[in-house]
Amino acid sequence: MTAPMPSKTLVEVKNLKVHFPIRRGLLRKQVGAVRAVDDISFDVYEGETLGLVGESGCGKSTTGLAVLKLLEATAGEVRFRGQDLTHLSEAQMRPLRRHMMMVFQDPYSSLNPRMTVGNIIGEPLGVHAVGAAAERAERVQELLRLVGLNPAFINRYPHEFSGGQRQRIGLARALATNPAFIVADEPISALDVSIQAQVVNLMSDLKSQLGLTYLFISHDLSMVRFISDRVAVMYLGKMVELGSRDAVFERPLHPYTRALMSAVPVANPRLERQRRRIILEGDVPSPAKPPAGCRFHPRCAFATDICRQEEPALRELEGGAVASHRVACHHAEKLL
């Protein structure tokens, strides 16, 4: 894996908000909103893998869907190669879709049970009118080979495959049109542990082979550490920390990130014995009624008055422009 070079920005997310309205009563009046993603900003650079981590319900999948405009953003903008996507209609969006694809979490429900593998993988080629029919068939076989499947599987149906193989099919479908950017939404969490490593390895090989850019969404910290160049941590719809992989994993600045990292088991038994778990108290508050100030304050050991009142911005803390490491915590300096 190459060192993250802050190169050209491929995807730019600015102040993205995705709120789901809560409607009640006969007239379906809006009484509130689930703030699944609440004002987050980040860039994805060309050729990198940005890992997006956080616990269930923190808004990481929603972020992924909104970036691809599979969910409508409530506010903010998403730019792909400088072009603002948020105001595009679905028809205007279509030609761009061949450059940005998605790999889904559930390998069982993400493939249409009534389509053959060949039709599934070839579908993006058909939609975007890539090549003639014969060329497409060839391309499909090439893709199968690329993801490590037998090209003869072309006429089989998804139910004939295992979870790992199905995920490879999903990956081949995402790669069909030679996209630049792939959002992988928990691509391995539904797989067996032994298969997870295979799929992650494959993804990382494909990345260097094809020059892909990934937004890798996962709650599996060791996998994220393995595949990512940079890591973003989300908590309750907010981004709390964003930095290079090594910085985030070795010098986590946010108390939440620290707690998260302390939960990762270490392979070395001697180090494992020294590992101190930071156990967080309480539950994640509802994203419909997030706490005022810093969203993490009710569970934070370092919280003070300012945390209860003022929302911390995501700010630069250490290093210069080369190794950017940003954190959203009032007390980050003290925790260094």
Binding site: L68, L70, M93, R94, P95, R97, R98, M101, M102, F104, Q105, D106, S109, S110, L111, N112, P113, R114, M115, T116, G118, E123, P124, V127, H128, A137, Q141, R145, G148, L149, N150, P151, A152, I154, N155, Y157, H159, G170, R173
Partner: protein
């Protein structure tokens, strides 16, 4: 995976088999479906070729041979006005089968279109279409049919139309329900992420997955339509008197002494209805299995 092994397998299966060829092969291997198909063809054949198969007319009365039990001359006996029951059954098939098929086609067409749009679009569109469906469901069908019959005159065609126009709501509800669950499946989202249009998502991704329940609904629909036609004919609003249909033949035999002592008048048409419904049902079953890649056939 070695390339050598891979390439030999490619050779072995290099001739791709289309979905439809595969489905057809599965269908023809389905024993019950084949039984259904043969039976249905037989029923259609005797209805169409009726004039060639019997020397009698289904309409002309023969007062010398009223209510005769089956004999060599009249295989299934005669009815209250001396008409040959077997002949009438053959001719009745024309009416009953076409009423069943045509009215179900009408109701399927409307029901599938409305149900799939409502289920796929959801929200306000769904709300509007479902209220419309509810409205149609609450119409007292007999009143409508009587009105239509009064306005346009009673005929088989009106009966087909009215049955079709009154039975679609249940299909629409069924299809909508299927669409509601299927559109939340990840493969639909995957199709959207690829850039597949709404129209294609509906017809290529969601609709094929609803075939099995629609196949079942069709078979029930045909049976229902044949029986509904029977009630309409009974009320004098469907098929008119001398023309036989399986339904009105059943109604002919409603007096207690016919029921008890002359089973040849009502048993055969009843059996025909049962046979037609059963064979269509088997065909539906076969179609469902043939179109499901997961079934091993």
């Amino acid at each position: 995976m070695t390339t050598a092994a891979a390439s030999t397998i490619v050779l072995a299966t290099s001739k791709p088999e289309s979905l439809w060829t595969k489905a057809r092969r599965r269908f023809f291997r389905h024993k019950l479906a084949m039984f259904g198909l043969v039976t249905l063809f037989l029923l259609i054949f005797v209805s169409v070729a009726a004039p060639l198969l019997t020397p009698y007319s289904p309409i002309t009365l023969d007062l010398r041979a009223m209510r005769k039990a089956p004999t060599a001359l009249h295989w299934l006996g005669t009815d209250g006005t001396g008409r040959d029951v077997l002949t009438r059954i053959f001719y009745a098939g024309r009416i009953s089968l076409s009423v069943g098929l045509v009215s179900v086609s009408i109701s399927m067409l409307i029901g599938i279109i409305i149900g799939s749009i409502a289920g796929y679009k959801g929200g306000k569109v769904d709300m509007f279409l479902m209220r419309l469906t509810d409205m149609f469901m609450t119409f007292p069908s007999l009143v409508i049919i009587i009105t239509v019959a009064a306005a346009m005159g009673p005929s088989v065609y009106n009966a087909m139309l009215v049955i079709g126009l009154l039975t679609w709501p249940s299909i629409a509800r069924l299809v909508r329900g299927q669409f509601l669950t299927l559109r939340e499946q990840q493969f639909v989202r995957a199709a959207r992420s690829i850039g597949v249009s709404d129209w294609e998502i509906i017809f290529k991704h969601i609709f094929p997955n609803t075939i099995s329940s629609i196949a079942v609904a069709v078979t029930f629909g045909v049976a229902n339509a044949i029986l509904l036609e029977a009630s309409l004919s009974f009320l004098g609003l469907g098929v008119q008197a001398p023309t036989p249909s399986w339904g009105n033949m059943l109604r002919d035999a409603q007096s207690l002494n016919i029921l008890e002592d002359m089973p040849w008048m009502w048993l055969p048409p009843g059996l025909m209805i049962g046979l037609a419904v059963l064979s269509i049902n088997f065909i539906g079953d076969g179609l469902r299995d043939a179109l499901d890649p997961r079934s091993i056939l």
